[in-house]
Each structure stands twice: as C-alpha cells, then as structure tokens.
Amino acid sequence: MAEAPKFLRPVTAPAADVGLAVTFERPLTLDCGRNLFPVTVAYKTYGVLNADKSNAILICHALTGDQFVASDHPVTGKPGWWTIMVGPGKPIDTDRFFVICSNVIGGCMGSTGPAENDPETGKPYGLAFPLVTIRDMVRAQAMLVEHLGISQLLAVVGGSMGGMQALQWAASYPERVRAVMPIACAARHSAQNIAFHEVGRQAIMADPDWKNGEYQQQGTTPSKGLAVARMAAHITYVSEEALQRKFGRSLQNREALSFQFAPDFQIESYLHYQGLSFVDRFDANSYLYITRAMDYFDLAADYDGHLASAFGADAPRFCIISFTSDWLFPTAENKRVAHALNAVAANVSFVEIKTDKGHDAFLLDEPEMFGTVRGFLNAVADS
C-alpha cells in the first residue's frame, strides 16, 4: 500500500512534496541470512509513466543521498541533490522519462533503517538492525519497481554508491533493465575506501552521545562524531587541486594566524560547516550501516572472483563514466568494470571526463557528462 513516508527529522519545508512510501507484505531475505520485516521503501517519482511502461529510469542515490533527486528536500528545504541533471529538459529529461528514486534500506529518509522500531522489541533497532548490503538495497528497489507495475526499466543510473547499485542491477536483474549507467564507482570498495569509512565509523562510536547505538532511547544525538565522519569523508570527495584552488591557505575572517585552535583557515570552517549541516539531516546509525554496505561490496566475489562472470550474454547496455581527478573511485577502477564487460562481449561505452573537481564532479556542472548522459539515454530510448 502506498502511504506517506515517515521521516526521522521534522519536515521544515511544508511546501515540499514528501513523496510516497510502500510497505511490503512479505519479508526481505538479506545477504546476512536474516529476514527484514516489515520492509518500507520511501520513494519519489518525477515525470509520467507512459502507457506501455517503457520510459522508467531508476536513479540510485549515493551514501548520504535520498529520494529527493530533483525536488526540494522536505527536511532541509534545500533543492534536490541532482537538479542539475534531472528535470524537464535536463539530461535525464522528466518530460520524456519517468524517474524513480527510492531511499535505500538502512537509510533514514523513510525506508526501513536502524532508526525504525524493531517489531520484536517495539524500540528503535539501533545495532539490532541487520547488516544490509548493496545487493539487499537493490532487492528492495526491485520490489518497488515491481510494485509500480514496471517489468523492465529503461535504465538504472547512479553515481558513487548509486553506481554500485546500478552494477548490481545489471548482475542481479539483467532481464529487468535495458541500460545501466554507473558513474564514478567501482565493482569493489578498495582498502583505502574502507579505511576512510572506518575512520568515520570510529568517530561516531567514540562520541559519548552515541550510547552504543541506543541514543534515540537515551535522548542524545552523536552529532560531534557524525560531523567528524562527514568532515573526513568530504575530503575524499574533492581533489587536492580543487581544494587548493578553492581555499589555498586563505584565512577565515582574520588578517593573521591566531596562534589558537579556532579555525584560522577557510578550509577548516568549510569542513566544520559540512559536518554541522550534515547532522541536521542524517542519522548516525544509518551512516554506520550504509558505509558498511559499501565496504562489503565486491561484485566479483559473488562470482568466484571473476568480475566478467557477473555479467552474461544478456547483460544490458552499459555506459560507464569516470572523472580524471576522482581518487576515491579512480578511472582505473571504472575501467576495470568496462574491461570485464568487454570480455563477455557486452555493449559497453566508457567515458573519462576531464575535470579537477574530484569524486563530487558527478553532482556538479560538468557539461561533457551531461552530453554523455543525455546522448546515451536518448539512444537507448530510441533503439
């Protein structure tokens, strides 16, 4: 049944469309072996599904994203995270395509996650929530797509963790998707990426307000830990060159060094702002769970270590995009996926966009990326 989604944080933008949520009657069997029940998936759609249901594009959000791709966020009131890419006349054109985006399970924007009540105890799950994987997230999305009566998606598109989900779609449900567009991602999380995530998780767990994950019951919020996690992660989203260009050694609201630990440098206050604004909209336990899901992602591992075996002769069409200055998911990792697809004679295009904006480039104004996305999706739709 479709219902209004329940958010962890209060809605501050009453004019914003909160989207929908669907609670499934059957449990979701997870990779960890446990059943998740009930399962709610919160989602938002844009555009109109055509009569033969052939114009649906699923967008998968990244670690800290949500279903509000192209419309105002009901909690923060800020514009959707990919308004530059999705909307009427945009590269993912909602005048032509029906766009679906759902909050991942484990998330905190209305889909079942650690902040929800555990039906067995009547209290928030906290750490009793089962570990979910990228494949589990995709299973929940597949249930939603089925619920919407769509037997085949035109495309699955996503950046970063969204790209991992797009790859998983191609491996798990090749017959249910015509084209897949993973952007700035990889078929596995690297040691360096896991390391950065662990720093973030330890920052959260070291916050005395985290209370072993039971902060909701105890009336605290591990804001400091979550903010530090976000700050550390944010550094990985930008390139050294872009940081230098944007901030250099510029001082923040002062003429000279203060000889204290207050933020002297602009980069420091920028990171503080990134951390603080994040805790207003995100749940610390969700952050633990979703980063873990990314760490566990290794598509080849499910196929005896052979990435090529993840994709068969029925693989959908692929267009893979990487960015030259992305050191979190570098071109080499993206290309690895493309080569594995070549090995099984799949239809794969690969584009490397030249930019100094780092991993976050997929969220930013990159005209060449827009050209690739628009051209690829239109070509798929016209074929």
């Binding site: 493309a338 080569h339 628009r374 690829f376």
Partner: protein, 208 residues
Amino acid sequence: MSALRPDLAAIAAMIRPGTRILDVGCGDGALLEHLVRTKGVDGRGIELSQQNVNACVTRGLSVMQGDADTDLNEYPSGAFDAVILSNTIQATEKPRVVLDHLLRIGRRTAVSLPNFGYWKVRAALAATGRMPRTKNLDYSWFDTPNIHLCTLSDFLDLTQICGAKVVEAHALNERGETRRISPNAISKERWGGPNLTAPGAIFLLKKA
C-alpha cells in the same frame, strides 16, 4: 546519415554483414554507425578523444574511451571477426605491438595508412630539404601526432614481421578513391608503382 568518406567506404566494403567488429580509433563513429545500420554488424569502438566518444554514444554506439597503445591487451583473442585501424597506426607509440594485438583480437584486420613514400612527399623532402607537409599530413614535425610514418613498402615489411598475410590491398588517390592492387606491386619498388603514386593505402590482413 551523410555519405561515407571514400576510404572509409572501401573499408566498409571489406566487412561482412552480421559480423563482430572493433573499430580502433573510431573517431566520431561515422564508419561504425554505417556498418551497424547497413550491414547489421555488432560493432564496438575505441577512441582517444572524449568529444568523439560522446558523439559515438549519442549515435547509440558502444565505444570505450581509450588508447590503442595501452588498452588493446584487455581484449580477448579472437573476440572479433574483424578489427579496423583507420588512419591511426602512424600515430601509435608502438605500431608493431598494436598490429600484433589487432591480428590477435580479430580474425581479419583492416588497416589504412598514409604513404610517406608518395612521390609528393619524396619530392618535397628532396626539393626543400625540410620535413614534408602534405594534404594528408599537414603538421610541423615538432607537433605532429604522426610519430611513426612509413612507406607502404615499410608497412608490408611489418606485416611480415608480425606474421600476417595480405588478403587484399587497395591504393588510395588524392581524392580518397580506391583501386584494388596486388601487394606484389608494392613490394617491388618500381617507377609508377603504388609506393610512389598512392598517397595512402588500405590493407586487409590475416594471421598467416
């Protein structure tokens, strides 16, 4: 779809319908699109320029942004019925390695290249004492992408080194039009032979 350049049309004529094709250095995808539309081939491309790759993707083609010098080793042996290398071999860093890969990946390999033995090139060098600039090769020596220029005879030598057999050879004229020639006509340097009269040529090769 605009008319195909005559040299590309000559390559297209060598491709059998419904086959699997890899076009290395496929540019904006004009030849590949032509082959997909008119011959129903299962086509793939490799292209260095990002703008060109975008043009290909928009045409609905499957093209990898990449470099013939570094990326061909990722392709399995015998993966394609034919591999095309059009006007690109002279711009590769290691032409022999590239040609070895092409012969390994494709059962047939079509290569087109400019001829540095063309009489106008020879005449320009002889008359001016400077590196020639021609219609096909209009670059200064210090900023040309064409770092491994050769004559048609030189290229035939390379095919032998790589253990390839010439299945077909076509000489190009100034307008890009082609005429079929015997490979022997090239290897025997003589007055009026293709190595002197043709600004370029197309070869269809296979592993001997």
